[in-house]
């Protein structure tokens, strides 16, 4: 039976690992060295790891390849890497230095043709599309890009269906309003996406407790939940999270 996944999230800014609140780059907290964190998560048998260079698109530069390399060296678990990935060569490069999947956000909105090419080249299962959502003045979930700084006018459901159609293998949905707040996942948003697409969905943004992981998996058909703060700032670890969920009868790796 396929297991629900718990995915620690590492955010990178200026070469340091940080934790933001609601994507605010000013109010970020420095939480240490990414490769040390990767080593710890590998030892804790995390199901997967996601590593995002959050300021790459905003600063119009490529991801820090050296840091990806260092993080990848510590991982014997699947590693998804994102931030500023805009070309087939970028993808080839991160796969070559140790990533297993790439996570594409801004380029998915700006250049759908690139996503199609990437899927044709690397297969659907290598391409994860990350969508950052924020409720607009009409209470609709709107897609934001460039690290949450740019409005697009696009509806999250429409974009989810669109990227599924052009071959994305997974969709990672982040609630900007919940991100870093530890106020709980936005399960309404997650459910909307999960119901709209046939590809696996990774929910992200706001996980506040082990019960929140449980609620997420019980109330929605989400395939994975990704979290940063709860692992950085509390004493919960991926392995403890899985033990808790396992004892609650949720399908996770023992």
């Amino acid at each position: 039976m396929i297991k629900n996944r718990i995915i620690p999230l590492l955010l990178l800014k200026d070469g340091r690992m940080v934790k933001t609140i609601k994507f605010d780059k000013q109010g970020f907290r420095d939480v240490g060295n990414p490769s040390t964190a990767a080593r710890v998560y590998d030892a804790q048998r995390a199901d997967e790891l996601i590593f995002l260079d959050i300021s790459a698109s905003q600063e119009d530069r490529k991801i820090f390849f050296d840091l990806v390399r260092q993080v990848a060296e510590e991982c014997f678990m699947p590693l998804g890497v994102g931030g500023g990935i805009r070309s087939i060569n970028d993808i080839r490069e991160v796969l070559k230095i140790g990533a297993d999947k790439v996570i594409i956000n801004t380029a998915a909105v700006e250049n759908p043709k690139f996503i199609m090419e990437a899927v044709q080249k690397f297969g659907s299962s290598t391409i994860v599309i990350s969508i950052d959502a924020k409720k607009n003045e009409n209470e609709q979930y709107e897609v934001m890009t460039h690290g949450g700084t740019k409005k697009t006018g696009l509806d999250v459901i429409e974009l989810s269906k669109e990227v599924e159609k052009i071959g994305a293998g997974e969709i990672m949905i982040t609630s900007i309003e919940r991100e870093g707040t530890m106020r709980g996942l936005d399960l309404v948003l997650v459910e909307k996406i999960v119901e709209s697409v046939k590809v696996p969905v990774i929910a992200c943004g706001g996980v506040d407790s082990l019960e929140d992981f449980k609620r997420g998996f019980l109330r929605t058909a989400v395939s994975a939940i990704s979290a940063g703060s709860i692992f950085h700032f509390t004493d919960q670890s991926p392995i403890m999270t899985r033990n808790y969920l396992f004892n609650q009868g949720i399908s996770v790796r023992p």
Binding site: E73, F76, P78, L95, K96, K121, G123, K198
Partner: protein
Amino acid sequence: MIAIIDYGMGNLRSIAKAIEYVGGHVLVTDKVNDIKKADKIILPGIGAFRDGIAELKKNGLDLELKESIIEKGKPFLGICLGMQMLAKRSYEFGEFDGLGFIDAEVVHFNYDVLNGLKVPHVGWNDVIFNGSHILFRGIPDSCDFYFVHSYHLVPSNKMLVAATCNYGVDFVAAIHKDNIFATQFHPEKSQKYGLKFLENFINWQC
């Protein structure tokens, strides 16, 4: 030396690093001469079928693989797409010929039997061994390995199936034929037991 075939699209460092970790000597290469010198060969797998085969053919790697694996019988490990490319035919984004080392086809998961399960099949799932094989030594039956794929291999000879997995339907998780072993799962990403599997491959004398 174990040659890891670089056809421009695999997660090459992941697999090389895992082999080194368990004590193997690897060379990531796209050169025919390196493959000739190798004792063992790994064809890693991330990518789409058509482009994978095209890249192998472009560099003449397909012919050397045939020479090394089929004629000379060097121990071979195919992973994910590296397994699927052994088949005669794939239906990924059309219909394409594979290397043809195994009489098999590569097909998409059938949504009709998945009961709402999502595709690609991504994540950890239990692998059921079909009898014992030396590459599974020290690994408990039904333990979890990491998968990420939308297509799976269907061999015409079911005797070749070394392990299965269930995702709405039972599908082939590993095949074995003489000196060829191949997995749909990613041992290099499957932590403890994945590394044990790769260690067994390094020690495999077939």
